[in-house]
């Protein structure tokens, strides 16, 4: 985990004082609502449907136990006792007041946290693979690179008033767990022919109302040139991105209208200029960041204790191990998912008491570290196998051990019309009904890997375009309807789901999901063929017939 130096700390401390004064000017009427808007958004503060919402940054999804405890304290003292983990690895508090926001930021700064650029038309939180440093297929840990990018684009004077928000994701593994191809910029760590380190750069991806899969604009960028090249992309976007229509202002629209070749040429030209001002990164600069990432000191040989025997004795524990843990690249350890998806639970929500309990587990069993995932779960990244049973016992008692990771009830879901001023329909109650319909964990297990994503409007915060089953809430004549897409994927084989027919009523939407699942079970070759594999093999027709009848 990255530990702040004096400069890092002074920056966030200064920012809190700055924002306090900006808030005072707004409350005293010296800044209008419109003038205050970008200032508050760049500090994470939204004005939502019922109340302000504060989005706190969790850089590349990494937290230490004390940071999670601070989030719990904020939930208790300033909110209604809970927080909501988002699809960009951040956390949102839905009920603070404007006056409270500077105090919350002040509290956060004491544990090296902030809300800087968690919203606004600027470079947002840099996200990454939640299995960074764990996955066996990893080429290099992406987090130090995320930190480098975070630092450079924090309060950057040229890029704080872009045409629209700007999201960057970095992955260090060939298996893309960071949804990188659906980001404004996706960076893949690669090694060149002579083993030199660099990045494949993708640009122009995004979800929202015009979903686009990012295009490769450079297959190998030496890592020393990363910052200059990112600046060049951002400058082309800042100069040429549309400002006349908010819905056409993202970089994906610019890339599409110019064409990838022309866009690439502009970036290369700009890069030549930028390099005069941004000299290549030298080794010392990157080492300085690397040094502040203290990794866990794993035991060389770990006694796995009664790990195997416990699984034989308790099938529920065995299922948890199979579904909710990942083999760690360090022998004797596993990464353990904390499932925030259970019946009666809003996907991604967690109350303060359980935040504290997870923080305690992290401190005791996971080298003080917790991570957030874009699928709105938490992860204890480094648990010794001999401790897994104890961890499971605690998680199970907290209802955080539903063995459903990457299964059909591990639903990604936006806040929807229950909280959001943009939404057209509710999404949380649909997720809740799916849980109830698929309450039988044996059934969920037998269906295998299946991702259902739900958004309450076309802004796609619930990533419905890339769900294996995507559900989009729409409003028709004052009623909630839902469009269904199939075949989406957010991985290295990224694909946008295909709409299978007319919107389905609130009453029938969960029946439709059930029909889709049953169609898959009927059609799959065997239990090893996953939903997405079956869909790619047979296409949409069988699913359409089942839902809409023969005429579809």
């Amino acid at each position: 985990m990255y530990a702040y130096n004096l400069f890092d700390q002074s920056l966030i401390d200064g920012r809190v004082r700055e924002f306090r004064q900006q808030t005072e000017r707004y409350l005293a009427g010296r800044l209008s609502e419109d003038q205050f808007r970008p200032l508050r958004l760049m500090n994470g503060l939204y004005f939502e449907l019922h109340a302000p919402m504060l989005r706190v940054a969790i850089p590349y999804g990494t937290l230490h136990a004390d940071q999670l405890r601070m989030l719990a304290r904020i939930a208790r003292e300033y909110d209604r006792g809970y927080g909501h983990f988002t699809t960009r690895q951040n956390i949102q508090f839905n009920w603070p007041t404007v006056e409270m926001a500077p105090d919350i930021l002040d509290d956060l700064s004491r544990v090296q946290m902030h809300a800087i650029q968690s919203s606004g038309n600027c470079v947002r939180n840099i996200t990454t693979d939640h299995l960074a440093g764990i996955a066996a297929d990893e080429i290099e840990d992406p987090r130090p690179w995320c930190e480098l990018i975070r630092q450079w684009f924090t309060l950057h004077p040229e890029f704080s008033y872009l045409p629209r928000k700007f999201k960057i994701a970095v992955t260090g593994s060939p298996r893309d767990r960071a949804v990188s191809l659906l980001h404004d910029i996706g960076l893949h760590i690669v090694h060149g022919e002579n083993g030199e380190r660099g990045f494949a750069v993708y640009a122009g991806g995004g979800m929202g109302r015009t979903p686009v899969i990012g295009s490769l604009i450079r297959d190998f960028l030496p890592s020393t040139d990363l910052i200059g090249y990112l600046e060049a992309i951002l400058r082309v976007y800042n100069e040429l991105g549309r400002r006349d229509n908010k819905h056409k202002a993202r970089i994906k629209i610019l890339v599409r209208s110019l064409g990838i070749e022309a866009f690439r040429d502009l970036v290369e030209q700009e890069w030549q200029r930028v390099q005069r001002d941004v000299p290549p990164l030298d080794d010392d600069e990157f080492s300085a960041i690397l040094k502040r990432f203290a990794g866990p000191s794993f035991d060389a040989v770990v006694d796995t204790g009664d790990f195997a025997a416990r699984q034989l004795m308790e099938p529920a524990f065995a299922r948890f191990v199979e579904h909710n843990t990942i083999v760690h690249r360090h022998a004797g350890y596993r990464a353990v998912y904390v499932s925030l998806k259970a019946p009666g639970q809003v996907p991604g929500d967690l109350d303060a008491a359980r935040m504290d309990a997870v923080a305690d587990l992290a401190q005791r069993y996971s080298f003080d570290e917790v991570r957030t995932t874009h699928t709105q779960n938490l992860l204890l990244p480094h648990v010794a196998m001999s401790d897994l049973y104890a961890v499971w016992k605690v998680l199970d008692s907290l209802q955080l051990a539903t063995p459903n990771i990457s299964r059909l009830t591990d639903i990604i879901c936006c806040p929807g019309l229950d909280y959001c001023s943009l939404a057209n329909a509710r999404s949380i109650p649909v997720a809740e009904e799916i849980y109830q319909r698929f309450a039988d964990i044996d059934e969920v297990s037998s269906v295998g890997e299946l991702r259902i994503n739900i958004s309450g409007c076309m802004n796609a915060c619930g990533h419905h375009h890339v769900g294996h089953i995507g559900i989009l809430g729409v409003e028709k004549r004052g009623e909630e309807w839902y469009q269904v897409t199939l075949g989406g994927s957010s991985s290295e084989d990224a694909a946008l789901g295909e709409r299978i027919g007319p919107a389905i009523s609130r009453h029938d939407i969960v029946n439709a999901v059930e029909q889709i699942v049953h169609t898959y079970l009927d059609q799959r070759i065997d239990a090893d063929e996953s939903f997405i594999q079956t869909y790619r093999r047979i296409g949409a027709s069988k699913f359409k017939e089942r839902i809409y009848g023969e005429q579809a």
Binding site: F7, L11, G14, R15, R17, E18, Q21, Q22, R25, R30, L31, Q35, P38, L39, N121, Q151, W152, T154, L155, H156, P157, E158, F159, S160, Y161, L162, P163, R235, N238, E239, R243, R273, V274, R276, D277, P279, E285
Partner: protein, 131 residues
């Protein structure tokens, strides 16, 4: 687009007056030998001004001053200062001095300071070696 540079006898300077949405390439090529460029900002959310200013600074044949006038927030004045703009006038009724007393320095500025210092140190070393 930019008006042609005019020669003004009263203040003896070549002034170029443009809007923030001006084409950057055209402006840069028109900026040679201009003493001062005045950029009008129509609306404070239009961040093109920041790239425009930086492109001008990077252009070797422009050695004049950049002035900015228009709808800006006092808080943005600092960003412009950081990019090298010295003359700023707000015409939206906001008080340019009504901004936080202390404006946070970014990582980018710190790095630029370090690079400049290193270059300076290197020059000194070279000079001393040359003696």
């Amino acid at each position: 687009m930019a008006n042609k540079p005019e020669h003004d006898d009263t203040i003896c300077e070549r002034l170029l007056s443009v809007d923030a949405d001006t084409d950057i390439e055209e402006l840069v090529s028109a900026s040679n030998d201009v003493d001062r460029i005045l950029i009008h900002v129509p609306v404070f959310t239009d961040g093109r001004i920041f790239s425009l200013v930086r492109r001008l600074q990077e252009h070797r044949d422009f050695t004049g001053k950049i002035a900015v006038r228009g709808d800006m927030l006092p808080d943005q004045v600092t960003l412009l200062h950081r990019l090298g703009v010295t003359e700023i006038c707000l015409d939206n009724g906001l008080d340019i001095n009504d901004q936080p007393r202390e404006i946070t320095r970014s990582y980018r500025e710190r790095r630029i300071d370090v690079v400049l210092q290193n270059n300076h140190d290197q020059r000194q070393v070279n000079q001393e070696a040359g003696r």
